[in-house]
């Protein structure tokens, strides 16, 4: 099967799963933005979306597909890295210099990816476990109503010092995510073959803009609650 | 007769040297003359029949030949092995084409990949008589320009065939995907080059040689992939194996080659051997040739009886970056196209030149009225665009007089300030930007602000192994193609013609003519390399290597090679005299002794050993250098790349002696310690009228 056996095939899988996850991030980020809007204007947008997703069949399928995407992306990343290290040969360069125009992120995608995944686990525990998982299994996983996502989020981020720490942790995560995406998006498009002499630079810019928007959406929410939290503590 | 010539010598030398020197020269020439007349009686002559030149009008010779030559049928081709040594334009194209035809090809190169042969470094372009520009070009005109450019010292039939197949080359290369430059309409673009009045040069940026070689390399790669060519990289041929046929006639049947990685000596059989090993310009140590380019294959052919023809014809390219130190390993060529807009000059005043040499002032500090645009002064009609040999000699003349402009006194200015004023910096940058950048990288000086410095350097050797019309040497079954043979450029090669010749030989000539030979060989079975002839040849090679390794002297190979280069440049260089050539021979003989008694080669013979490789090549360069001097001494005339100071006009232009030297000087090996024998192939110009080249008006 060429998707496994050929290098471009493997890269194709990486780029497709990657782009899929980026799209999810965009959706997730936009959804999170509702939290801020809700908090400012007193609306119930976030919880409405939560309810719509909840434990419905399409949400479950969506979640499974998403999980599959993450797993495939991760496994291929490990597989590719092992292969690439082997391709480098046994002797390493004694001296390596930075090449001009080469992004730092592009050479550290695996590390960045692992950081992102690590936080993802935390994130899943913090939210998904308390929301969709609780809803599905009926197990009580937190003191909040699994339907009231908004409360769960606020409960975590505005919880005094603990909230500040969480916010900061999330910010670290988001920075790693930004670096990962700043290379990932254009790399995925390049792998799919959407690039030529003129578009080469443009796609790199698009990639960065895309990463900034996606990560920015999350940032806004985190920073907002960080502000609210600090404000309430003073 | 002798008196008449002596007067001529006297008048011409008058300008060049002091009266005393002229007398000595005259005497020397006179004595030589006697010796030459004595020899005339027993000089062997090669007739057109011996050179296998087909009968009939010039334009029909090649067609006639092809119509009547013998061919090998497909089933028999499979049974025949052909060895091709070299993977440049000629070698790669020949190996690929022979394999496409069905022969089994064994191809050898000394580099790590066939793509690295030095054809790759050609910049300018390739000529063809396509007449796409509608400027009156034709096969005849390309033929005529080549003959004239070669100063009427090339064989008519060969040159005409070259012009004929030139068009096929362009078609072939385009079909292979060579990205030639194109016009906005999508059709092929042409540029003009020295020595022609039409635009017939096809080019691919400044990398035409690279693109053409990669085209041939891709065709070769395809055949290697199919298993029709067996490729041996990092192998160097060290001898040719000769085996007698049933009539007792020796034929080339294989080679002995050294695996450069393991140092192992190996044997290879072939029904025929084709040598495409390039030129011997590196005899001069400093040249525009690649470091590994060498003349050893030619010398191996020569030692087995192949004639070495016109060894003294070496082309000196006028626009190279000057030498900057003793450690210098090679000279870099700047494209000839620079002379289209650049103006060449030296200071008028000697004191200005001295200041330049001392580094006190720069070229731009010298006012316009104190500049001597010597090419424009001497050659008003052609100005800076005179042919290569003329421009080179003029630069040497100025530098010899002390007007050189860099620290070594061996450089002249190539100035673009006028072009920048006239066209604007942008236009100049567009045309020559990459060359300017290359210059700046090497010299660390901005040529937009200060004039470039250039000096002539050895670039190409027109001489080489003698071949007949079939490109077969005087040894049966041994063929020689590309720069390695002598055939098409006469005494001087025009720009963009080397690529044309290499590919013509490899794609369109040899694959035909070799069949005329091989058709008789279909009954010859593949021979075992265990035959005594192979063993004997291998033993000779091993003995030579052992001899070299045993010297264990004090000097490195390069130090001796540099010394040889200096001898060549000083005494067999741009301006030669009988005296300088005799000095050269003496010095080379002494150097040969020095080499064989005092060279030091570290390491082992049976492993990777660069120094041993270089020593083996140098041992042959020494012989070639000597042969060049002998040939130059024999050729008492000035023509093309060969300039004898005794033979020049009042104005210092080359003076041919058509009545005496209109022949190819073929040198036959007679033994390690005896002088070579001269054999002549007269050049009777049947179809073209000979004229004196004139670039003044």
């Amino acid at each position: 099967m060429w998707l496994k056996d050929s290098s471009i095939g493997r890269k194709f899988i990486m780029s497709i799963t990657g782009l899929f996850l980026v799209l999810f991030l965009l959706f997730h980020g936009s959804m999170n933005l509702c939290l801020v809007i809700d908090d400012i204007f007193g609306t119930q947008g976030y919880n409405w979306i939560c309810a719509m997703l909840g434990a419905n069949w399409y949400a479950i399928i969506g979640t499974l597909v998403l999980a599959l995407g993450v797993v495939v992306h991760f496994c291929y990343a490990i597989y590719l890295t092992i292969q690439n290290r082997a391709a480098r040969g046994t002797d390493r360069y004694a001296m390596e210099a930075r090449q001009e125009g080469v992004q730092w992120a592009s050479k550290n995608m695996l590390v960045l990816g692992i950081i992102v995944i690590g936080f993802l686990v935390l994130h899943l525990y913090n939210f998904w476990y308390k929301m969709q998982f609780a809803e599905l299994t009926g197990v009580e996983t937190s003191m909040f109503d699994p339907q009231d996502g908004s409360a769960i989020v606020k409960g975590l981020f505005t919880n005094g010092v603990c909230g500040i720490i969480y916010c900061l942790l999330y910010l670290v995560w988001l920075v790693a995510l930004w670096f990962h995406l700043s290379h990932g998006v254009w790399s995925a498009l390049q792998t799919l073959g959407w690039s030529n002499l003129i578009w080469l630079k443009r796609i790199k810019v698009i990639g960065v803009i895309f990463a900034t928007i996606a990560v920015g959406l999350f940032m806004v929410v985190t920073v907002y609650f960080l502000g609210v939290n600090i404000g309430s503590m003073m | 007769m002798a008196t008449k010539k002596d007067t001529k010598v006297a008048t011409t030398t008058k300008k060049v040297a002091a009266a005393k020197k002229a007398t000595t020269t005259k005497k020397a020439t006179a004595t030589k003359k006697v010796a030459a007349t004595k020899k005339v009686a027993d000089v062997k002559v090669i007739t057109p029949e011996m050179a296998k030149i087909p009968a009939g009008p010039l334009a029909e010779k090649w067609t006639n030949y092809k119509d009547h030559q013998k061919l090998v049928n497909p089933a028999n081709k499979r049974r025949l092995d052909v060895i091709v040594v070299g993977t440049g334009l000629a070698g790669a194209s020949a190996a690929a084409t022979l394999a496409e035809l069905g022969f089994n090809v064994l191809n050898f190169c000394i580099q790590d990949s066939p793509r690295r042969a030095h054809s790759i470094a050609a910049q300018g372009g390739i000529n063809a008589a396509k007449n796409y520009q509608n400027d009156g070009d034709s096969v005849y005109r390309l033929y005529y320009d080549t003959i004239k450019g070669g100063d009427y010292r090339a064989r008519e039939a060969n040159v005409y065939r070259l012009a004929e197949v030139s068009n096929n080359i362009i078609d072939q290369c385009v079909a292979q995907g060579v990205p030639f430059a194109r016009e906005y309409g999508g059709l092929l673009d042409n540029r003009s080059f020295g020595g022609a009045q039409v635009s017939r040069t096809f080019y691919a940026k400044g990398q035409t040689g690279q693109q053409l070689l990669l085209g041939a390399y891709s065709a070769l790669s395809r055949q290697i992939g199919k298993g029709k060519v067996k490729m041996y990289t990092r192998y160097e041929m060290l001898d040719i194996v000769m085996i007698k046929d049933e009539n007792g006639e020796e034929r080339a049947r294989g080679i002995i080659a050294r695996n450069l990685v393991t140092g192992r000596i190996e044997r290879f059989f072939g029904h025929a051997v084709v040598i495409a090993s390039g030129g011997y310009g590196n005899t001069f140590f400093l040249s525009t040739n690649a470091m590994a380019s060498n003349g050893s294959a030619a010398m191996q052919m020569y030692r087995h009886g192949a004639y070495f023809a016109n060894p003294c014809y070496a082309q000196i390219h006028p626009t190279c970056i000057p030498k900057h130190g003793d450690f210098q390993s090679k000279l870099t060529l700047m494209s000839e196209s620079l002379r289209n807009d650049g103006r060449i000059w030296v200071p008028k005043k000697l004191e200005d030149a001295k200041k330049l040499q001392a580094g006190e002032i720069k070229g731009r500090d010298i006012p316009e009225e104190d500049r001597d645009y010597y090419l424009e002064r001497r050659y008003p009609a052609f100005g800076n665009l005179v042919p290569r040999d003329v421009a080179s000699r003029a630069a040497k003349e100025r530098c010899d007089k002390g007007y050189g402009v860099n620290n070594t006194g061996l450089a002249v200015f190539l100035d673009f300030s006028e072009a920048i004023q006239r066209l604007g910096k942008d236009v100049v940058a567009q045309k020559y930007g990459n060359l300017f950048q290359m210059y700046e990288k090497i010299v660390d000086e901005n040529p937009y602000e200060n004039p470039m410095m250039i000096f002539p350097a050895i670039h190409y050797t027109m001489g080489g192994i003698w071949v007949d019309y079939e490109l077969q040497t005087s040894v049966k079954g041994l063929f020689c193609i590309g720069e390695a043979n002598f055939s098409d450029h006469g005494a001087n090669r025009l720009g963009a013609s080397a690529l044309m010749q290499g590919l013509a030989d490899g794609y369109f000539v040899l694959p035909y003519t070799i069949q005329n030979y091989l058709s008789d060989q279909i009954g010859v079975p593949r021979m075992s390399t265990d035959l005594p002839e192979f063993a004997e040849a291998e033993k000779n090679v091993n003995d030579k290597i052992a001899r070299l390794m045993a010297i264990q002297g004090q000097r490195s190979v390069d130090s001796i090679h540099k010394e040889l280069g200096l001898i060549m440049w000083d005494f067999v260089g741009m301006g030669r005299t009988a005296e300088s050539l005799k000095t050269a021979i003496k010095k080379i003989d002494a150097l040969k002794k020095e080499f064989w008694s005092n060279v030091y080669i570290p390491g082992e013979a049976n492993s990777l050993n660069n120094e041993l490789e270089k020593a083996l090549r140098l041992s042959d360069f020494i012989e070639i250098g000597r042969l060049m001097a002998i040939d130059a001494l024999n050729r008492e005339e000035s023509c093309g790349g060969h300039f004898r100071e005794e033979y020049q006009t009042e104005e210092g232009e080359a003076l041919r002696q058509d009545d005496k030297f209109s022949y190819v000087a073929c040198w036959k090996y007679t033994g390690e310690d005896s002088e070579p024998e001269l054999i002549k192939e007269p050049l009777d110009y049947e179809f073209t009228e000979r004229k004196t080249r004139n670039y003044k008006a």
């Binding site: 050929s6 290098s7 471009i8 890269k11 194709f12 590719l80 292969q83 690439n84 082997a86 391709a87 040969g89 360069y93 004694a94 001296m95 090449q99 125009g101 592009s106 050479k107 254009w186 799919l192 073959g193 690039s195 030529n196 002499l197 080469l200 | 194209s93 580099q111 790590d112 990949s113 793509r115 690295r116 030095h118 790759i120 470094a121 396509k130 078609d171 072939q172 385009v174 079909a175 292979q176 995907g177 990205p179 030639f180 906005y184 059709l187 092929l188 940026k205 990398q207 891709s218 065709a219 790669s221 395809r222 992939g225 525009t288 450690f327 990288k441 010299v443 570290p602 990777l608 660069n610």
Partner: protein, 251 residues
């Protein structure tokens, strides 16, 4: 202005493909900055020969940046710290007095070391043999002007074709990937009508050979193009991806 410098050169010495390599440091005095890097190595070798030691084996030939033979990894860069040049075009003016210069061979599984700084790059030839050509025999081809090719297309093909096959791309790549090399040839031929006919076949064959030979997977770091002495563009890699994916999806 160029002047004379004293330097130390730290060179990788390895007796053979299977031998254990190590660094050795040599001192060089009075090196003219106008000398090329390889001329500096020549001087060092002359020095070693004078001391009856084994000179450093390295690949080099044309010394004008076109044959692709020279291959040194100098101070952490393939072909050294200057841009868009080969090692032979690197000059000593890029180094300062008292500097220690580290020189290593290309390091990639597909380029095993032969000796010292010399590596075996036959893998590139094998990729070319798998499909880096247009399948035409000599003779019987149409007139060169029979097919018009737009100038921008021809120019882009030319830029891709300027690859010299030196191996700097794979040497620079942290993944040991040969994608820039392969894509340059695939691009050149896919752009031109002559090569388009077998473009799909070519892309598949060359990529399969590249993978088989043990080159790594491209992760688009761009180090290859940054270090390429001929500035071959990353856009070629995108074109190769496109050609390859289209070919596979058509199957």
């Amino acid at each position: 202005m160029d002047s004379y410098i004293n330097i130390k050169v730290r060179v990788w010495r390895q007796a053979g493909p299977k031998a254990q390599g190590h660094f050795e440091t040599y001192e060089l005095k009075h090196i003219f900055q106008g000398a090329s890097f390889l001329e500096m190595i020549d001087i060092l070798n002359e020095q070693l020969i004078a001391e009856k030691k084994d000179p450093i084996a390295f690949d080099h030939d044309c010394r004008e940046g076109i044959c692709g033979m020279c291959s040194m990894y100098v101070n952490g860069h393939p072909h050294g710290p200057d841009s868009a040049i080969t090692t032979c075009q690197l000059h000593m003016r890029h180094f300062h007095d008292g500097e220690t210069i580290t020189v290593e061979p290309w390091r990639s599984r597909a380029f095993p070391v032969i000796k010292d700084l010399m590596v075996d790059r036959q893998a590139y030839d094998k990729i070319m043999q798998a499909g880096g050509f247009v399948s035409v025999n000599t003779g019987g081809v149409p007139d060169a002007n029979a097919i018009a090719i737009p100038k921008p297309v021809a120019d882009e093909a030319m830029d891709a074709a300027s690859c010299i096959g030196c191996g700097a791309c794979a040497a620079a790549c942290k993944n040991g990937s040969a994608m820039l090399f392969v894509s340059a040839k695939v691009s050149q031929l896919a752009l031109l009508p002559q090569g388009k006919i077998e473009a799909a076949k070519r892309a598949k064959a060359m990529v399969a050979k590249m993978d088989e030979l043990g080159f790594g997977n491209c992760t688009n770091t761009g180090a290859c193009a940054a270090e390429c002495p001929k500035s071959v563009s990353l856009a070629n890699i995108a074109r190769l991806n496109r050609e390859f994916l289209c070919a596979k999806f058509q199957d």
